[in-house]
Amino acid sequence: MPGVKTWLESWPVYRQLTGSDPLGRGKAARSKATEATVSRTATADRVVKSVCPYCAVGCAQNVYVKDEKVVQIEGDPDSPISRGRLCPKGSASKQLVTSPSRVTTVKYRRPHGTEWEDLELDTAMEMIADRVLEARRKGWQDTDAEGRKLGRTMGIASLGGAALDNEENYLMKKLYSALGAVQIENQARI
């Protein structure tokens, strides 16, 4: 009755008692499902080099991508700083990408509104551009009280940057300065 034997052998205790692993800490504990399991890192389409986005140690990460989705993030052992290690946050960083509560579409709340509304990305960009120009105009100061040149607007402020890339901060500071906005700040002050 091969059916019974198969059934019996699917039982770890049976394998432990009859096989070469009496302590049940090796072969006997491995099921067919275990044997068939392949790590996500082994079947990824590609591995992309990245850096952890949390604290400033800058641990190197290997990002495993399959079917254009991030399937795993591991520490990169090549890094002279992190030597392959990641802390709990770095190890969880895949969930930053895949978090079920992540919001990936534009949300809009009108003045005095009580609920969010949806907006097209392009519409939102045009609306923001309208408001930037208006706020810049309203807050514009050509000179101070003594007639010294200011050439700036106090209508627009910005906060953020410590989690951004250098290239992003650079474009922000460049654009804001050209607009005349000076109240530009980031977490480094905090």
Partner: protein, 905 residues
């Protein structure tokens, strides 16, 4: 940063994490490295395994303490007294590194005759103006060899600049931060007394200043027993000499104080006296808390600086490029090339429109004229002075102290753009904030229009972070961001594109800066993502032939070269993205120079010329790092020398030499105007040339050293929404400190929304000692309510011996409460917002708030809900003699309230 900048010339960690392995002693102070920088902490473990002593100085016993050989609990907010005690110990026992101090520091420099120390004015230095609460710093200056400013290109202009430096509107605009790369300009080189005996020499002033910081005084102020202090002093001094080095590690446990910059200055003085700067296993390692917080100051989104720590032009001082460079042009040190750095930035931004004839479009830059920092802006928002606000990966409703004040600010805008991954509290305040519950805010009364714009994660875009040791590391994009999510590079590029198109036909001169801007980056893919690589190359800069520059030494002031951030010049050397280099650690030496790229010029350890003696020989075989190779006629070693490669150790500047040529072969601090490490800071720190112990703004103890209780120049933002707890008040009898947990990240948007992390650290708690629990009837695992003049919050109580009451010499017992600050009402793991408890008072150098130490009361049970909360806190204010904290509609001043009003503009 001004702490390090004013001491050594650059506001960056002097050493790198891996180099900690070379330390013989590591002192971690103002940092819980094991829990907040866990992977970096492996290098402390490595050092310990090689026999190093590890000391942790912190009010709380943490995992860092558990690994340390010695944990020293000190009263929160007393680090200057402790470090001052060590300085006194080193000086009075002649334990300083004599040759190093004599050759590489300003110990021999003479200070002006009219300087009066805080020891003689009961806690104030000469030059204090009680009306503006700022210092006129002129008496702190060196006595100069030549008449002041005579070396400048334009001495009269330079003298006028210096005069204007003392104007309060300049003092408040945080120019000290410009010392981030290039120490503060000085009027000229000082007179020196090489015997260090002159009573006005820095060395003698220093000795007198710290003479009263004895072990007994340390015991009285910090609550550290003299025997424990002696142990620390012994380990540190035994491990600081030719053969041995000690490293100091700090984080925001130092910066977030009303005297934060001075904490770092005190450490800088100590480490300089011990000869630990610029040497392997030594240095001061500033551990930054965000992936690119170093980068976001190097290329700043900050009001007071431009890329490369160039100051933002000030209306009072900088009417033209000529005036802008007057304080530095022609003088000694690399600051002498300020004109070149600025011209290159202007060329990078305005290209062909920036010409010699129009001052390279200097006039296109807006001018500052005071404090435009974050908290000032929030107060302005409440007053309706600001129309629009961009929040880019930041959550002030939770992450800033005094969340209630911040939320009132958001409620009084015309519009708000939030760029983030999740619907953070700063995006949902209009319907879910605690003030909705108390009735102080309601959706119907808030006119703020909110745009939530979904952002890309770190794997959905290319770009560089600059991590804690000034290292730029490039990330490759792994996948496209989903749906409407976009990188911030995309957002700001396309916003700029749309704005430029709107104004294309404008003839208004105000629009020229925007229309003349170089704004043509290659675009990729379906979403038209701009090329981060092209932006990085612009930051690096290009020469007359259009090729990438390889060093800022190639930058010219005639407009023939351009580059967006001079200190990053070299990151694209040889047309190669050097930040993307990933040569495995195993295939290169310990310094790992081919992994990423560090500013400046891939120098991994700053000031490493000081690792050799004045003749250019290593101080010892054991600590050799960079040295002079006489045969080859150049500096060589394990790292890129942080020195001109061919400048001989015996080089003496000829008469009339300028910029770097005016620095000698024995001047390792090449960004300083005198080439020296500053024990005494004649410029660059607005609250004193020498660190002095002041009590925190909110303290339960009296200042044992001076009549002056707290930093006299501390900045306050008064209003009903930012009341201060009086010091030594029975109503707010306990000290509170805030901190991070390993499993969470700052305001929580990147951790409370992740299932793994929320499960690991599921709820808000506070740590109290068994003694305090007994005193207030608190039970482990039950709720307690904490109250300040701002608000009241509730948290679960963790009773633990990790927090000890501190017994001061006078018999006073100080109870301290530990409070992680990651929670709020959104996400998978929720709780009250710790930062709501804290007020905002600021370090005058940095405008950084004092949130590492405040006061509060703690009582058992949950806090009142609804409007009852307002009455509950108001009752506390009354008892403490604090003004009312009641506000009008949307947090406005009670008399000003006007239903539904948006901006007043």
């Amino acid at each position: 940063m001004p702490g390090l900048g004013a001491s050594f010339g650059r506001g960056g960690a002097t050493n790198f994490l891996e180099d900690l392995a070379n330390s013989d002693c590591i002192v971690i102070e103002g940092s819980n490295m094991a829990e907040c920088h866990p992977v970096g902490f492996q290098w402390v473990g490595e050092a310990k395994a090689r026999g190093a002593k590890v000391i942790h100085i912190d009010p709380r016993f943490t995992r860092t303490s558990a690994i340390a050989d010695l944990h020293v609990p000190l009263r929160i907010g007393t680090d200057i007294a402790f470090l001052g005690g060590l300085i006194n110990y080193v000086l009075s026992n002649d334990l300083y590194f004599e040759e190093y101090v004599a050759a590489y520091t300003n110990a021999a420099a003479l200070v002006r005759e009219d300087f009066v120390d805080s020891e003689d004015l009961d806690g104030l230095f000469s030059g204090f103006d009680p009306e503006t609460r700022t210092y006129d710093e002129s008496s702190w200056q060196y006595e100069t060899e030549e008449p002041p400013e005579s070396a400048a290109d334009d001495p009269a202009e330079a003298a006028e600049q210096r005069e204007l430096d003392d104007d309060p509107s300049v003092r408040h605009s945080d120019q000290a931060q410009a010392a981030g790369s290039g120490g503060p300009p000085i009027p000229g080189k000082p007179k020196r007394d090489e015997t260090l005996q002159h009573p006005r020499s820095v060395f003698q002033i220093l000795k007198r200043h710290y003479a009263r910081y004895t072990p007994e005084m340390v015991a009285e102020v910090c609550g550290i027993e003299p025997a424990v202090f002696e142990q620390v002093a012994q380990w540190v001094t035994d491990n600081s000499n030719r053969d041995r080095t000690t490293a100091w590690v700090y984080s925001v446990g130092w910066t977030q104080h009303s005297v934060g910059a001075q904490y770092i200055r005190t450490c800088s003085i100590l480490q300089t006296l011990l000869g630990n700067i610029g040497r392997p296993g030594g240095g001061i390692l500033a551990l930054r808390g965000h992936a690119s917080i170093q980068g976001s100051t190097d290329i700043p989104t900050l009001f007071n600086i431009l890329p490369g720590y160039l100051p933002m032009p000030h209306a009072l001082q900088h009417g033209s490029l000529e005036e802008y460079v007057a304080d530095a042009a022609g003088k000694a040190g690399f600051w002498g090339n300020k004109r070149a750095y600025m011209t290159n930035l202007l060329k990078a931004w305005w290209g062909d429109a920036a010409t010699a004839e129009n001052d390279f479009a200097f006039d296109y830059l807006p001018k500052i004229n005071g404090d435009h920092s974050s908290y000032r802006t929030i107060a302005d928002m409440i007053e309706g002075k600001v129309s629009g606000y961009f929040l880019v990966g930041e959550n002030p409703a939770v992450g800033h102290p005094n969340g209630r004040m911040n939320r009132f600010g958001l409620a009084n805008l015309d519009w708000l753009v939030v760029r983030d991954l999740q619907l953070i509290e700063s995006a949902t305040f209009w319907k879910e904030s605690p003030e909705i519950e108390t009735g102080e805010l309601a959706p119907e009364t808030i006119g703020t229009e909110v745009f939530f714009m979904p952002a890309a994660t770190h794997v959905e875009k290319d770009g560089t972070f600059t991590q804690t040791q000034r290292l730029l590391q490039w990330r490759d994009k792994a996948v496209e961001p989903p749906a409407d999510a976009r990188s911030d590079l995309w957002f700001f590029f396309h916003l700029g594109r749309i704005l430029r198109a709107r104004l294309a036909d404008s003839t208004d001169p105000r629009d020229r800066p925007l229309l003349d801007l170089t704004w043509d980056y290659p675009l990729h893919g379906e979403t038209q993502d701009p090329s981060a690589d092209a932006v990085l190359r612009e930051i690096n800069g290009t020469g007359p032939d259009g090729r990438a520059l390889s060093s800022y030494m190639q930058m010219k002031d005639d407009g023939s070269t351009s580059g967006g951030c001079w200190i990053y010049c070299g990151v694209y050397a040889d047309e190669v993205n050097q930040a993307a280099r990933r040569k495995p650690a195993k295939e290169q030496g310990a310094v790992a120079s081919e992994w990423g790229w560090a500013w400046p010029l891939n120098r991994r350890m700053l000031y490493n010329r000081a690792s050799a003696d004045p003749d250019g020989r290593p101080w010892s075989e054991r600590k050799k790092y960079v040295w002079w190779d006489e045969a080859a006629g150049e500096w060589t070693g394990l790292d890129t020398p942080d020195f001109e490669k061919h400048k001989r150790p015996d080089y003496v500047p000829p008469e009339g030499a300028r910029a770097q040529d005016a620095l000698a072969g024995t001047d390792p601090f090449v960004m300083q105007g005198d080439g020296k490490a500053w024990l005494f800071a004649p410029a660059g720190v607005v609250d004193g040339p020498l660190p002095t112990h002041y009590e925190p703004v909110e303290s339960v103890a009296e200042n044992a050293l001076y009549k002056q209780q707290a930093n006299p120049t501390v900045e306050r933002i008064p209003g009903p929404w930012n009341r201060e707890n009086p010091s030594m008040s029975e109503v707010f009898p306990f000290q509170v400190t805030t901190y991070r947990l390993t499993e969470h990240h700052t305001a929580g948007a990147m951790s409370r929304t992740l299932p793994y992390l929320s499960e690991l650290q599921p709820e808000f708690f506070v740590e109290v000692s068994p003694e305090l629990a007994e005193l207030r009837g608190l039970t482990n695992g039950e709720f307690a309510t904490l109250v300040s003049a701002r608000t009241a919050i509730e948290a679960k109580v963790l009773v633990t011996e990790r927090i000890r009451p501190i017994r001061l010499r006078g018999g006073q017992v100080v109870h301290q409460i530990g409070m992680p600050y990651h929670w709020s009402y959104s996400g998978l793991s929720t709780g009250d917002t710790a930062n709501d408890l804290l007020g905002i008072s600021l370090d005058p150098n940095t405008h950084i708030q004092e949130d590492k130490v405040s006061t509060a009361d703690i009582v058992p049970g949950r806090r009142p809900r609804g409007p009852g909360l307002i009455d509950f806190v108001e009752e506390y204010r009354k008892r403490a003699g604090v003004q009312s904290g009641r506000v009008g509609l949307n947090g406005r001043d009670p008399v000003d309230a006007d239903a539904g009003q948006g901006s007043k503009l």
